[in-house]
C-alpha cells in the first residue's frame, strides 16, 4: 500500500539546514494497522505529511498504492489525497462555520460527486460513527470525542483505502479515546489500511505493528504483539 525508500526531508533556512527524515524506509501492506511512535521532534509529523502527500520529500522514492508520487503536480497530489487518503487530525480540524453535514461534504465536493451521492455517503458515514441525529449541529456544539468521530466520518465518507491518523486521541479523555480507537479498529477490519501517529503506548500496542522513529529514521520495526513494551520504550 505504502512503500518509502530512502526518503529524505530537510528544511533549510538562511543559516541552518535541518534533516527531519534521513534515509527513511518503510513498507505498509494493504489492510495493516500500523502505529508510529517516537519522541517529539523525531520526524513523526514529517513522515505523516509526506505519507499523506501534504509535503514533498527532498529525496527518495515513495510509492502509494503502487504509484510513484514524488513527481506529481500539486493538482494530481490533491486528487490523490482526495480519492485515496483519509485524514484524522489531533485537533479534529473541522471547519467551525459549517455544520456536520457540510463538514463531511467538503472533500466529497472536491471529488465531484453529485448531490445525491454525497448525501448518501454523508448519511452513511454519520451513521457509522453514531452521529446521524447531529447532522445539522455545528462542531462547537459537540464534545471533543464527538468532534473526532465527525472527523472520522469525514474521512470515511470518501471510502479511502488508506487512513492517516495524527494523534487521533490526543485531545480526548480516556473513555473517548477508547471509543475512537475501537472505531479505528472496526474501520481497519473493513479493510482500510491505517497508519496512526501516537504518543500513547496503550494505543500503539493495539496496532498490529509499531514503528518507532528516532532522529528521522526508523529505529526499530517490531510486531507489537510480540514485544509491545520494547517497541514503544
Amino acid at each position: 500500500m505504502l512503500k518509502m525508500q530512502n526518503i529524505r526531508k530537510s528544511y533549510r533556512t538562511d543559516t541552518i539546514e535541518t534533516h527531519a527524515l534521513r534515509d527513511f524506509s518503510l513498507e505498509v501492506n494493504e489492510g495493516e494497522f500500523v502505529s508510529v511512535t517516537g519522541p517529539s521532534g523525531s520526524g513523526k509529523t514529517t513522515f505523516l505529511n509526506i505519507a499523506g502527500l501534504l509535503e514533498t520529500p527532498t529525496g527518495g522514492q515513495y510509492l502509494l498504492d503502487g504509484q510513484e508520487v514524488g513527481n506529481l503536480s500539486d493538482s494530481e497530489r490533491s486528487r490523490l489525497r482526495n480519492e485515496k487518503i483519509g485524514f484524522i487530525f489531533q485537533g479534529f480540524n473541522l471547519i467551525p462555520d459549517l455544520n456536520l453535514f457540510d463538514n463531511i461534504d467538503v472533500p466529497l465536493r472536491y471529488r465531484g460527486f453529485n448531490a445525491k451521492e454525497r448525501r448518501r455517503r454523508i448519511e452513511k458515514s454519520l451513521e457509522q460513527v453514531g452521529l446521524s441525529a447531529r447532522a445539522k449541529h455545528l462542531p462547537a456544539q459537540l464534545s471533543g470525542g464527538q468532534q473526532q468521530r465527525v472527523a472520522i466520518a469525514r474521512a470515511l465518507a470518501g471510502e479511502p483505502r488508506f487512513l492517516l491518523a495524527d494523534e487521533p486521541t490526543g485531545n480526548l479523555d480516556s473513555l473517548m479515546a477508547r471509543q475512537v480507537m475501537e472505531l479505528l479498529e472496526f474501520i481497519n477490519e473493513w479493510g482500510t489500511t491505517i497508519v496512526m501517529v501516537t504518543h500513547d503506548p496503550e494505543l500503539a500496542r493495539r496496532a498490529q505493528r509499531n514503528i518507532q522513529i528516532v532522529d528521522g529514521q526508523v529505529s526499530d520495526l517490531r510486531q507489537t504483539i510480540a514485544q509491545p513494551e520494547a517497541a514503544i520504550a
Binding site: 501534504l54 509535503e55 487530525f89 471547519i95 462555520d97 457540510d102 467538503v106 465536493r109
Partner: protein, 402 residues
Amino acid sequence: MFELKPMLSALWRNKVSALLIALQLALTLAIVSNATVIVKDRMEKVARPTGMDVGNIIAATYMPIPTDYDMAGAVIADLDLLRNTPGVLDASVTNQIPLSGSGSAGTYFNEPNQEIGGENANYYQVDSHFIDTLGLNLIEGRNFTPADEHVVGPNDRHHSEVAVISKQFAEKLFPGESAVGRFFYAGNTDKPVEIIGVVEQHLGAWPGWSRAGNVVFYPLLVTDNHKRYLIRTEPGQRDAVFKEVEELLNNRDPQRVVQVETLSKNLERTYIGDNVMIKVLSLVMALLTFIVALGIIGLTIFWINQRTKQIGIRRALGATRANISRYFLIENSLIAGTGLVLGTAGALIINRLMVSEFSQPTLTLPLLAVCAIVLLLVSITAALMPAMRAANVSPAMATRSV
C-alpha cells in the same frame, strides 16, 4: 465543486464584516452611478457641437468716445480693413458675441398677434458675412445678400423682413416641414418675417440655456453706442491676427475703446463650472472606488489570515489551489453581488430625488448596469491577489498545532 450553500452558511456566521463591505459597495454604487450620470450629462453638454469654427474666431468689441459717432461708416471701414488683413478669411458685425453669456432673446409665433404658445429664441443682428465668418453650415435656403441688410437707429422700431434661423428652431416652429419660405412673427405683432435660410447648428449666447440652439439671425445694423466684430482667421493664424486686431482698429480710429477676445476663451469660460464639476465628481468616483477596493482587499486578507488553518484543512482534504482561489473569489462576488443589489435600489432612489429636487438627468438602467459591472470587476480584481495568496497555503498547515 461549487460550494454555494455552505459558503452562504459560513458568510452568515461572519455577517457583520461581510455586510459592512456590502453596504460600502452599495453606497459606492449609489454615489458613483449618480455621479456618472451627471458627469456624462456635463460631458455631452461640453462636447456639443457649437456649429461654429470656434478655434479660428476672434471677437472685438468697441465703444466710441464721441457721442455723435458715425457708427455705420465706422463699421464699413473697419470691416473693410479687417477683411483685407493677411490671415483673415472673413469678418462680420454683430450685436452680440456667441458663447459669451451675453445675448438677446425674443418670443416667436407662427401666427400674427398670437399671444400664447410661442417659442423663445436667441437673436442676432448681423450682416451678410456673418454665416461665412462663423463657419456655419447653411443646409437650406440662401444666405443674406447686401440687399437684405438695413441700418437702423437705436430708437427706431427696427424690423427685418427676412431671417435665417437654426435647424433646431425651424423644427420647433414647423415640425416635420421645411421652414424656408415660411413666416414667423417676432412677438405679438402682425409683421411677418420670412425665413430665407436654415443653418445646421448654432449654440447661441448661452450654451447652458434650456433652449440653447434656438437662434434667429436678422440682417440689421443697429447704430447704438457700441459694436462687435467677429473675425475668422485662416487655420493657425488666429493668435497672430489676435495681436494685431486691437492696434489695427485703434490706428484706423483712435476715438474708441477696443477689447479683443477669442471664442475659444468664451467657450472655455462658459463651461468652466461644468469642467470643474466633471473633474471633482470623477475624482470622488475614483476615490470611492479605490476605497472600496482597499476595503475588499483588507477584508479578504483578514479572512484569509483568520482561516489559514481552514485553508490548509481544505487543501489536505483534496482542494486544489484553484479550488481555494475560486472559493474566495466566489465568496467575494457574493458579498459584492449583495452590495450591488442594495446599491441598485439606493441609486434609483437617490436619482429619483435628484431628478425631482435638483433637475438632474435621469439614471438609465443600462448606465446603472455598466457601473455595477465595473464595480463587480473592481471587487473581483481586488480580491484576486489575496485569493491567489490563499491558494499558496500549504496542505501541511492542517497538521500544524498552531
